[in-house]
C-alpha cells in the first residue's frame, strides 16, 4: 500500500457525548489515517453510532472536537460533510421517490447538478440497482434498500466512507458482494470505517480495529496485534481421553471450562501454564489421552475479554 500523507481522515479528541441520563461517549481520542480500512467494534449500546453521528454532524458533541480531513465538523461543516459519506444503521428511505430520483436529489444537496448524473448511473450499475432505477423505494426489498443507502452515501464521491453495520440483516450472498464492493472502494483509495457485530467480518476486512465499550475505547490496534494480544494470554486446549474421567487432578480443576464425556476443554494462559504440564498431570492421574488440539484466540475472544466489564484496559494506540 502506498503511504498517504496529509491530515488524518478522522481525528477525534477528548470527545464526550451526554444524553439525559446517559453518558454515551466518555472521552474518546482516536485517529483514522487516510486510506485506512478501520473497524469500530463494541457491544450494543457501546456508543459506536453516537461517535459516527458526531462525525456526520447528526449529533453534537458535549465536549471535545471531531474533524474529518482536518475540517471541524461544526465550524467547517460544509467541507467536513463533503468529505464524508455515511451509511446510517437504520434502513430509512423517502417513500415519495424512485431510486434514480433520490440519488439525483442527494447529489443536488451537495451542489452537484446534471453534469454529475452519469456518475449516478454508474453508481446504480455497480450496486446492481439499475434494473430498479425507476422503482419507488417503497417497493424495494430490504437488501435493495440497503444498497440504495450505500449509493446515497457515495453519491458525492466522498474520500472518507463510514458504514454503520452495513451487513446487518443481509443474506450471505449480498454480504459477500458488499464486502467485495467495500474492498473495491478501499483499493480505490477511500478511507473506510466499518462497524459490525460480525467479528469475522472485521477480522477479514479491517487493518486496524478499535473496540468501544460503555462509551470508552478499550483497545485500538492493528488487527494482528489485537489478535496476538489474545493469543499471548489465552490458549484453548482440547483433550480427548479414552474413557471419561471420574475426577480431575487437583491442579487442573480451575483450568477446565468444559467436560463432556471423553472431551475436556482447558483455558490456559500462554505464559503461566504449559500444555505439556497439563498433559503430564492428566497422565499421572491415570488418563489415557487419544487426541490433543489447541486453538488460538480469534477476534471474538479478544472482544469478549475486553468488553467483559471486569477487564478495563488503557487505550493503546499503536503507532503503525
Amino acid at each position: 500500500m502506498v503511504p498517504v500523507s496529509g491530515p488524518a481522515a478522522i481525528a477525534v479528541a477528548g470527545l464526550h457525548k451526554r444524553y439525559p441520563g446517559v453518558h454515551a461517549l466518555r472521552g474518546i481520542d482516536l485517529e483514522v489515517r487516510r486510506g485506512e480500512f478501520f473497524g469500530l467494534l463494541g457491544p450494543n449500546g457501546a456508543g459506536k453510532s453516537t461517535l459516527i453521528h458526531v462525525l456526520a454532524g447528526l449529533a453534537r458533541a458535549s465536549e471535545g472536537s471531531a474533524r474529518v480531513l482536518d475540517h471541524d465538523v461544526v465550524r467547517d461543516y460544509r467541507e467536513s460533510r463533503r468529505a464524508l459519506g455515511m451509511v446510517p444503521q437504520e434502513l430509512v428511505f423517502d417513500p415519495f421517490f424512485t431510486v434514480r430520483e433520490v440519488l439525483r436529489i442527494q447529489a443536488g444537496y451537495f451542489g452537484l447538478g446534471r453534469e454529475h448524473w452519469p456518475w449516478v448511473e454508474s453508481l446504480m450499475a455497480v450496486l446492481a440497482l439499475d434494473a430498479k432505477a425507476d422503482a419507488n423505494l417503497r417497493t424495494l426489498s430490504g437488501g435493495m434498500k440497503r444498497r440504495v443507502m450505500i449509493a446515497l452515501a457515495l453519491v458525492h464521491r466522498p474520500p472518507v466512507v463510514i458504514l454503520d453495520e452495513p451487513t446487518a440483516g443481509v443474506d450471505v450472498d449480498l454480504r459477500r458482494s458488499l464486502w467485495e464492493f467495500i474492498r473495491g472502494l478501499h483499493r480505490d483509495g477511500h478511507t473506510i470505517v466499518l462497524t459490525t457485530h460480525y467479528l469475522q467480518e472485521a477480522e477479514q476486512l479491517c487493518e486496524r480495529i478499535a473496540i468501544l465499550n460503555h462509551g470508552e475505547l478499550v483497545a485500538v490496534d492493528r488487527r494482528e496485534a489485537l489478535l496476538a494480544r489474545g493469543i499471548g494470554r489465552r490458549l484453548r486446549l482440547n483433550v480427548t481421553t479414552e474413557v471419561p474421567l471420574a475426577t480431575l487432578p487437583e491442579a487442573l480443576r480451575a483450568r477446565v471450562t468444559a467436560q463432556e464425556g471423553t472431551r475436556l476443554v482447558f483455558e490456559l494462559h500462554r505464559d503461566r501454564d504449559s500444555v505439556v504440564g497439563v498433559l503430564d498431570a492428566l497422565r499421572d492421574h491415570g488418563a489415557r489421552i487419544v487426541d490433543v488440539a489447541t486453538e488460538a484466540a480469534d477476534l471474538e475472544d479478544v472482544f469478549l475479554e475486553l468488553t467483559r466489564g471486569d477487564v478495563k484496559m488503557k487505550p493503546q494506540i499503536n503507532a503503525d
Binding site: L58, R60, F93, G108, Y109
Partner: protein, 253 residues
C-alpha cells in the same frame, strides 16, 4: 453559498406535493368552493360589508387567503414531520446545507403550493362571481408574504411535532381558529368591540384584510399597517424557525 443545494431541496419539496396533486392541490380547491357555495348561498343579499361589494364577492378573497395559509402551512409541516418519522430527514442533515438554505427551501416550496392553490380557488370562483382586482401589487404582496409566514409557521410546527397527531393538534388549535377568526367570512366591523380588539392581535387578520384591499381598494385597517404587521410577524417567525434549525432542535441530537 450552496445554491444548487437550496434549489434541489426546493424542487424536491415541489415534486413531493406535485406527485400527489389530487390531495394537495385539488382537494383544497374543492373545499374552498364548497364554502363559497354554502356561505354565499345562505348569506348573499343579507349582508353588505363594503359599500357596493356583494357578499359573495367579499367572501372570495377571504377564502383564497385562507386556502393559501392552510396549504402553505400544511406543505412545510407535513413534509418535515413525514421525513422525521420515516427517518429520511437524515439525508438532508448529512448534506452541506446551511440553516438558511434549509429554511428557505422549505418556505419557498410552501409559498409555491399556497399560491397555486390560491390561484386555483380564485380562477374557479370568478366563474361564479366577478371579483375585481383594484391593486394587483397588494394582491401579490400579501399572497406571497402570507404564504411565507404560514410556511414558516409550518416549519416551526413540523420541527416541534414528534408525531402526526401533535401536528394535527397544532393545525386544529392554532391554524384553524386563527384563520377562521380573522375575517374570512365577515368584516370585523360587525363584531362587538372586544372581539374587534382581539382580532387586531391576530396576524392572519392583517393578511386577509390587506389581501382584500388589493381587490376592493377598501379595508378595515390601512394597508400599510397590515403590511407592517404581516411583514413583522413573518420576520419574527422566520428568526425563530432559523434559530430552531441552527440549534438542531429535535432534529440533531
Amino acid at each position: 453559498m450552496n445554491l444548487t443545494g437550496f434549489y434541489t431541496l426546493f424542487c424536491k419539496e415541489v415534486l413531493r406535493f406535485g406527485k400527489v396533486w389530487l390531495q394537495t392541490l385539488m382537494a383544497p380547491i374543492v373545499t374552498a368552493l364548497l364554502y363559497l357555495l354554502v356561505f354565499g348561498h345562505v348569506l348573499q343579499g343579507r349582508i353588505e360589508v363594503f359599500p357596493g361589494v356583494g357578499y359573495l364577492a367579499f367572501l372570495v378573497p377571504g377564502l383564497v387567503m385562507m386556502s393559501v395559509i392552510q396549504n402553505a402551512f400544511a406543505n412545510s409541516s407535513s413534509s418535515l414531520i413525514q421525513s422525521k418519522v420515516s427517518g429520511s430527514l437524515v439525508f438532508m442533515l448529512l448534506a452541506p446545507l446551511s440553516h438558511l438554505e434549509f429554511f428557505a427551501a422549505f418556505v419557498t416550496a410552501a409559498v409555491v403550493r399556497g399560491l397555486v392553490v390560491g390561484l386555483g380557488v380564485y380562477l374557479v370562483a370568478v366563474l361564479f362571481v366577478p371579483v375585481p382586482v383594484a391593486h394587483p401589487w397588494a394582491v401579490a404582496l400579501f399572497a406571497v408574504l402570507g404564504s411565507a409566514m404560514a410556511g414558516t409557521l409550518g416549519v416551526i410546527a413540523g420541527l416541534w411535532a414528534e408525531k402526526f397527531d401533535q401536528l394535527a393538534g397544532f393545525q386544529n388549535f392554532v391554524i384553524l381558529p386563527l384563520s377562521f377568526l380573522s375575517g374570512v367570512f365577515y368584516s370585523i366591523r360587525s363584531l362587538p368591540p372586544f372581539w374587534q380588539g382581539a382580532s387586531h392581535l391576530n396576524p392572519f387578520f392583517y393578511m386577509i384584510d390587506g389581501f382584500r384591499y388589493g381587490f376592493f381598494g377598501q379595508a378595515d385597517t390601512p394597508p400599510g399597517i397590515s403590511l407592517l404587521a404581516v411583514g413583522g410577524t413573518f420576520l419574527l417567525l422566520a428568526a425563530a424557525a432559523v434559530g430552531m434549525i441552527r440549534s438542531g432542535y429535535k432534529i440533531r441530537e
